[in-house]
């Protein structure tokens, strides 16, 4: 019966997926439960902030600069048709603060820091460092996972803000310095159109949510990876794919909640 076989395969996959989501949720709550001790040993978080946040700085800044410059160029080409080049600042700033800053920074973060987290934890598991810790009565979630989680959550909004800020300057550089859009109207219209709560704060909330999603996915994939070379490589790939999809889907939901119907 090939039909029954297909249906059984679908069922198997569904159960697997639901099971993994449930495990990831339990994992998330476990991290929150064991977070207290990692705050008492704050230097662990600082060390992880260095490897997730500081090491991602260069890629974030360079990408932000180029995204802002491209926005400036493309925005100018389009706005020129309607004779409203002076709105270039608005377009660049709103595009970056609302969408591109949080989303692109999170995608870069997922591939730069998330994959590294997964590989690191997966390898720790494969070389039985995690079991060794358990044997020494050190809870691996409190010692390894929770500091990475908080480092990711702290660094993601900061990275997104840096991305947006650098991007605005990239747009300024192309629009005002290179093309010659009026500097006064570039900044003045931007300030008139960008609202602190509605645009900037919502962008920060977005990057916070993305940071949580990416780190939980990355840590879960690493912790759950089969302790083999293939298992770790597969988990790393899954981290990047799943967290990228999660970022884009969450972005749609958040955008609909924040900006839809207003």
């Amino acid at each position: 019966m090939p039909a029954a076989k297909t249906i059984r395969a679908i069922g198997h996959r569904t159960i697997n997926a639901v099971w993994r989501i449930g495990m990831a949720t339990r994992f998330f709550f476990l991290i929150l439960m064991y977070s207290g001790s990692s705050f008492r040993r704050f230097h662990l978080i600082i060390k992880e902030l260095f490897s997730t946040g500081v090491m991602s700085l260069i890629i974030i800044v360079v990408a932000g600069l180029f995204v802002g410059m491209v926005l400036g160029l493309q925005g100018y080409e389009t706005l020129k048709r309607y004779g409203s080049e002076s709105a270039l600042g608005v377009m660049v700033a709103l595009g970056l603060v609302r969408e591109l800053g949080p989303v692109v920074a999170a995608l870069l973060f997922a591939s730069r820091a998330g994959s590294a987290m997964t590989a690191e934890i997966g390898l720790m598991k494969a070389t039985e460092q995690i079991s060794a810790m358990e044997m020494m009565a050190v809870h691996p979630i409190a010692r390894i996972v929770a500091p990475r989680f908080w480092a990711g959550i702290i660094s993601m909004p900061l990275l997104a803000a840096l991305f947006s800020a650098v991007g605005v300057f990239g747009g300024y550089f192309v629009g005002v310095v290179q093309i010659g859009v009026d500097e006064g109207s570039f900044w003045a219209q931007m300030q008139a159109a960008v609202d602190f709560e509605h645009d900037i704060l919502n962008g920060v909330i977005k990057s916070f949510v993305f940071g949580t999603a990416v780190t939980v996915i990355a840590l879960f994939e690493g912790y759950d990876a089969p302790p083999t070379a293939e298992g770790v490589s597969g988990a790393t790939t899954r981290t990047v794919v799943t967290s990228s999809l999660a970022i884009l889907m969450l972005d749609f939901i958040l955008t609909a909640m924040m900006f839809g119907g207003s």
């Binding site: 803000a161 602190f196 900037i200 920060v204």
Partner: protein
Amino acid sequence: MERTGIDLWVGMFVVAGVAALVMLAMKVGNLGTYNVSDAYKVHAYFANVGGLKATASIKSAGVLVGRVESITLDTERYEAKVVMSIDKRYQFSRDTIGKILTSGLLGEQYIGLDAGGDTEMLKDGEQLKMTQSAMVLEDLVGKFLYSKAEEPAK
């Protein structure tokens, strides 16, 4: 790397991130430009608000003096009730005229206030008596067509 080196880099990273946020708030956003905390509210009825939205600016002689608080339809008069919050520093006479204007050809709509000559000033919760509605393109085209039709044929 040494512990102090890591601390330094992380500190720089956090400071840079917070600085970027502050820069976004002040330079890109409107937090540095306008503060509505100290404001009084007046309302006005318009026959048609056109594309006016809440948070649209209120200007007098081109200077930003306040923001539109809310726009609702008053079902007793079937006119739009616009609540405006205006900065306390700017006092307007009671016969001030409120007009819905458009900045530029395709720009967004705002309320322009033309001060009158009354010696009494508007107080919190009072109403602007004289208003001028937004221009609606269809009405303008209609008026133009009528005036063309009334012209004697050449």
